[in-house]
C-alpha cells in the first residue's frame, strides 16, 4: 500500500508541475554553462510561479555572462534579485508593473528601506513610481544621504511632479554636483525650486 501511495503522490506532483514548465530563453542556453543554466532556470521558474516578472532575472544572468562572471556568482546574483523583487512587490502592491519592480530593486540596492518604498508608493497614489525611484537611486549614488534623498523624492512625488520634471531635476542635480556643488545642497535646492514651480501650476505645495 505504501508503494501505491508513493506512486500516486509522484503522479500528482508530476501532474501539478507539468503544465507550468515553459520553453526556456534560448539566449541563456547559448551563454551559460549547463549547471548555471539549470540553476538559473529553476530560479526563473520559481519566480514565474510567484507571478514575479522573469525578464529581469534572465537579463541579470545575461549581464553576468557578458561581464565574464563565473557560474556560482551569476546564480547568486539572480537568486538575490528574485528575493529583492519579491520584497519590492510586497511594498508596491500586487498590481505593480515590471518596470516599477525593477526601479524599486535599484532603490533597495542603493540603501532605501522597504518601509520607504511603501511611502513612495503611497505618495504616488495610482501613478507609476518608476521614475521617482530611479531618480532616488541616482541621488543616493551621487552621495546625497539616503534619508534626505528619500524625503525629497517623497515630497516631490506627493506634490504631483511629473516624470519629465523628475528627469530634469535629476539632470540639474547632476550638473550642479559636476560643477562642484554639495550633493545634498544641490538636491534640496533643486527640489524646492521644482516644487514651487509645480505649486504655481496647480500642484500641491511642499509640506
Amino acid at each position: 500500500m505504501k508503494v501505491v501511495a508513493g506512486r500516486v503522490f509522484a503522479i500528482v506532483l508530476f501532474l501539478i508541475a507539468a503544465p507550468v514548465v515553459r520553453a526556456q530563453d534560448p539566449r541563456l542556453a547559448a551563454r551559460l554553462d549547463k549547471p548555471t543554466f539549470k540553476a538559473v532556470n529553476a530560479i526563473v521558474d520559481s519566480a514565474r510561479l510567484a507571478r514575479l516578472p522573469t525578464a529581469p532575472l534572465v537579463d541579470k544572468a545575461l549581464e553576468g555572462a557578458a561581464k565574464g562572471s563565473d557560474g556560482p556568482n551569476i546564480v547568486a546574483a539572480v537568486h538575490q534579485l528574485s528575493i529583492r523583487m519579491g520584497s519590492a512587490r510586497r511594498q508596491l502592491g500586487p498590481g505593480s508593473s515590471a518596470d516599477e519592480i525593477k526601479a524599486a530593486v535599484s532603490a533597495l540596492d542603493a540603501g532605501v528601506s522597504v518601509h520607504d518604498l511603501a511611502l513612495v508608493r503611497a505618495a504616488a497614489g495610482k501613478r507609476s513610481v518608476t521614475m521617482p525611484l530611479t531618480v532616488l537611486a541616482d541621488l543616493i549614488g551621487r552621495q546625497v544621504p539616503v534619508a534626505t534623498a528619500t524625503n525629497l523624492v517623497i515630497q516631490l512625488t506627493r506634490s504631483g511632479v511629473k516624470d519629465a520634471e523628475f528627469a530634469l531635476f535629476q539632470r540639474n542635480v547632476r550638473a550642479d554636483v559636476d560643477r562642484g556643488a554639495d550633493p545634498t545642497v544641490a538636491a534640496t535646492t533643486r527640489a524646492r525650486g521644482l516644487v514651487l514651480r509645480t505649486a504655481g501650476t496647480g500642484g500641491k505645495p511642499l509640506h
Binding site: 500516486v8 503522479i11 506532483l13 541579470k60 561581464k67 562572471s69 526601479a103 549614488g141
Partner: protein, 198 residues
C-alpha cells in the same frame, strides 16, 4: 398389502445405517485429493475484450485516489488556462498578418547614447534592451570626432539598465544618466526610463 411390512423393514434398515457412525480409512482423504489433482486443469478462455468488459470489484484507498483525482482536476484547470494563453499568443501574429491596420507599433523610442572616450577604438552600448550583447550591430557607437562616440538606437518603453563597453573590455557607466548601485558583478551600470511620447 404384503409389501407394506417389507418396505418398512427396508426403510428401517437404511435409516439405521445412516444414523450409524461412519468410519473411513486414514488414506481416504489422500486418495480423493490425489484423484482431484489428477484431473485436467480448468482453463477459462478469456479474450482481451472479455477482460475489458467483465465487471470487476476494485478496492479504493480514499487518500491515494482522492489525491490522484485532485491532481487530475488541477492539471485540467492549469492546462486549460495555459492552452488559452498559448492560443491567444499564437493568434496574435495571425491577426496581425490578416489585419495589418490593427498591428500595433513596436513600443520603443529611439534614444541617443553619447560617450566621450578620446582613446577608444571601439564603443558599444549594452543593456537589458539588447540582451547585454556587445556585438549587437544596432548598438555600435560611431566616432563623431573629438573623442565623441554616439549611437541612436531603439529602446523599448520602460526602465532599463545599460552601460558602455569600450574596446570590448572596459565597462563604463553613462556619465549623463542616473546611476544604478549594482555591485553584483563589480562593474557599473546606468539607468534609463524610456517613456511613450504623447
Amino acid at each position: 398389502m404384503r409389501d407394506e411390512p417389507e418396505g418398512r423393514f427396508v426403510i428401517g434398515e437404511v435409516a439405521r445405517e445412516l444414523r450409524g457412525s461412519v468410519s473411513l480409512s486414514a488414506s481416504f482423504d489422500d486418495g480423493v485429493m490425489a484423484a482431484i489433482r489428477a484431473l485436467p486443469a480448468h482453463r477459462r478462455q478469456r479474450t482481451v475484450w472479455s477482460r475489458l468488459t467483465t465487471p470487476k470489484t476494485v478496492t479504493i484507498m480514499p487518500l491515494s485516489w482522492g489525491l490522484l483525482a485532485a491532481g487530475l482536476v488541477l492539471f485540467a484547470a492549469l492546462g486549460a488556462a495555459h492552452a488559452y494563453a498559448d492560443l491567444h499568443r499564437a493568434a496574435k501574429p495571425i491577426a496581425s498578418a490578416l489585419f495589418p491596420a490593427v498591428k500595433k507599433p513596436v513600443p520603443s523610442q529611439r534614444v541617443q547614447f553619447v560617450l566621450v572616450a578620446p582613446d577608444a577604438k571601439k564603443v558599444a552600448v549594452v543593456g537589458d534592451f539588447n540582451g547585454w550583447d556587445r556585438s549587437h550591430a544596432g548598438y555600435q557607437a560611431q566616432h563623431r570626432g573629438g573623442g565623441v562616440w554616439s549611437v541612436t538606437a531603439p529602446v523599448p518603453i520602460g526602465h532599463h539598465r545599460y552601460s558602455f563597453v569600450v574596446d570590448d573590455s572596459v565597462w563604463v557607466a553613462d556619465p549623463t544618466a542616473p546611476r544604478v548601485v549594482d555591485n553584483d558583478f563589480g562593474m557599473p551600470n546606468s539607468a534609463i526610463v524610456v517613456e511613450e511620447q504623447k
